[in-house]
């Protein structure tokens, strides 16, 4: 029996497979559609201080090799997230699955405020910092495009909470190692990557952008090789554990990312076509380790020479 447990950001996760923010609601929506015991954790949809309406429709467009989305981080605000969504998730899962909460804000102070409101809340195990979502004008990605700004933000959040902090990095930067080092120095506990790639679709008959927000982020099959390189580069740059995502549809996709340096992986867009993906990927990682004689899944992290 292969040991599937991993350590990420100081957390003990039972498996290396988590679900990605924005693709799994607040954790309970897919109950019945896959075996939750195969998940290391779920990542909640991005939460800011107050309720946020998100972008105008259309909020998505299916493209060859993936999906372009511009949901725009619609959310209930941190108070109602805790009161309703987190409570519901814990009740439905009996508290058996860990939760990482993705947070964002329009200012460093807002990030810190949201983080402090989650501090000590039962059922919240870590915070993922959304500094790379391409779909909101304020906050989000603007913080993730400048390593100095990013570092300052992480330090501010670090001072506001004892929870493990996992900044989520963007792929569209000249050298991701720079950003990885910046957040490591600033006190992050792990790094998640990659977020979606800025993208756009144009309706040639109407001669207008398809998305209500005009532009969005590309996820799915096509971005997987981009994710592999980003993880490979980040792993060379820092010692922090990496949570890797981007186009995982099959176990091989996840194994590639772990060989590149990820300690854990996240399944996102693939869940929409096959809700059992995360569970299948977990089984496939175990089978790969079994086949190659690895006693623990941790043994394959960073093995790509």
């Amino acid at each position: 029996m292969v040991d599937l447990s991993v350590k990420l950001a100081g957390l003990d996760l039972p498996t290396p497979v988590v679900t990605a923010s924005g693709t799994f609601g607040y954790g309970a929506e897919y109950l019945g559609a896959l075996d939750y015991s195969k998940l290391g954790a779920v990542t909640a949809k991005g939460v800011r201080l107050d309720p946020w309406p998100g972008n105008p429709m259309p909020r998505h467009c299916e493209v060859y090799g993936g999906l372009v989305n511009a949901i725009g981080l619609q959310g209930p605000g941190v108070k109602d997230f805790v009161k309703y969504f987190l409570t519901h998730f814990r009740r439905e899962t009996g508290g058996s699955v860990k939760m990482i909460v993705n947070i964002w804000g329009g200012s460093e102070d807002e990030y810190a405020e949201v983080a402090s409101r989650l501090d000590g809340v039962e059922g919240v195990h870590a915070i993922e910092l959304n500094v790379s979502c391409p779909n909101v004008k304020e906050g989000g990605h603007t913080f993730g495009q400048d390593p100095v700004v990013l570092s300052r933000l992480v330090k501010k959040v670090r001072a506001a909470t004892k929870l493990p902090i996992i900044p989520k990095l963007a792929p569209n930067v000249p050298d991701i190692g720079v950003y990885a080092r910046a957040v490591e120095d600033a006190g992050a506990d792990a790094i998640s990557l990659i977020n979606t790639i800025p993208a756009m679709v144009i309706d040639i008959e109407r001669r207008k952008p398809v998305l209500g927000n005009r532009t969005g982020g590309l996820s799915g099959r096509g971005i997987h090789p981009v994710a592999v390189k980003c993880v490979y580069d980040a792993h060379k740059a820092v010692k922090l554990p990496l949570l890797a995502m981007g186009g995982i549809y099959e176990p091989e996709d996840a194994i590639e990312l772990m060989l590149a340096g990820a300690s854990a992986v996240a399944v996102g867009t693939a869940t929409f076509s096959d809700p059992s993906t995360a569970a299948r990927v977990c089984d496939g990682i175990a089978a790969y380790c079994e086949r190659h004689g690895f006693a623990s899944v941790r043994d394959i992290v960073g093995l790509c020479s």
Binding site: E29, G54, N69, Q74, F272, S273, P275
Partner: protein, 261 residues
């Protein structure tokens, strides 16, 4: 609680006009689905990473789920090729369906393949039979009339080209009936599914008359499970504020009075 059931195709028949009946052997879903709910189908033959396609349910009984669909794009074009015995993953039951417990005469208003969930509704309303107002451009777009008549329903067709029934929009015969109810202080309940213009027309009438109206909204979907927030419908909350509801979990059926157009 969701199920991703591996069903198999019983039959997949062309009924003319680009419309098809797809019968799926899906005992788990057939026993759980309620009128107005929908399913998210993984189209066999599309690349595995393709998004699923949502379909409303024409009927669900005796282990069989029946879908009435039109070939409108890449996904439905490929679904039209699925042969008997083919395995199809189906996620469901999804969404908030039509309420069955109301009082008042049920008046169903449908257009095109919008009649699909109305058929399931009509059958499950049982002895509480009413009128189906069914409209479309031409006779070919008026589907399954025989199935409603077999249930003992009064069917009032309308076609824009006059090839069947009333010549014009389905709101013609509908308004005549609503006038009658108004004159005699009759209570009714409106249920509708079809093109956006029809939905708004029925919704406006329900609100104006102060009668319950149940509007099945249609959206392109991504997850269909309430997880991604791609399928938004603006709704009015009790405090008067506007809320971006999800068609897949808060709908697809919404109360007319709650809709913000």
């Amino acid at each position: 609680m969701l199920t991703d059931e591996l069903s198999s195709v019983i039959s997949n028949s062309d009924i003319g006009g680009g419309y098809r009946f797809l019968l799926l052997d899906a005992p788990q879903l057939a026993s759980k689905l309620q009128p107005g709910q929908f399913i998210h189908v993984r189209v066999p033959g599309l690349e595995p990473s393709a998004l699923r396609r949502p379909f409303s349910v024409f009927d669900a009984k005796d282990g069989v789920v029946t879908v009435l669909f039109k070939v409108v794009g890449r996904g439905t074009k490929v679904l039209a090729q699925a042969g008997a015995g083919e395995k199809v993953s189906v996620l469901g039951p999804l969404g908030h369906g039509f309420p069955l417990s109301g009082v008042g005469a049920p008046l169903l208003v449908g257009g095109g393949f919008g009649v699909a969930p109305l058929h399931f509704l009509a059958r499950r309303l049982g002895e509480r039979k009413g009128i189906l107002f069914i409209g479309g451009r031409t006779e070919k777009d008026l589907l399954a009339i025989d199935r409603f008549e077999a249930l003992g329903w009064d069917v009032r067709p309308a076609t824009e080209d006059g090839s069947m029934g009333y010549k014009g929009f389905v709101t013609g015969p509908l308004d005549e009936t609503l006038e009658g109810f108004k004159r005699f202080n009759g209570k009714y309940e409106l249920f509708t599914c079809g093109p956006d213009g029809l939905l708004k027309a029925v919704s406006d009438r329900a609100v104006a008359a102060g009668m319950p109206g149940w509007i099945s909204m249609d959206r392109h979907m991504v997850c269909a499970a309430g997880a991604c927030y791609a399928c938004i419908q603006r709704t009015r909350l009790p405090d008067g504020s506007v809320y971006n509801a999800r068609c897949c979990v808060n709908g697809p059926v919404f109360a007319a009075k709650d809709l913000v157009w």
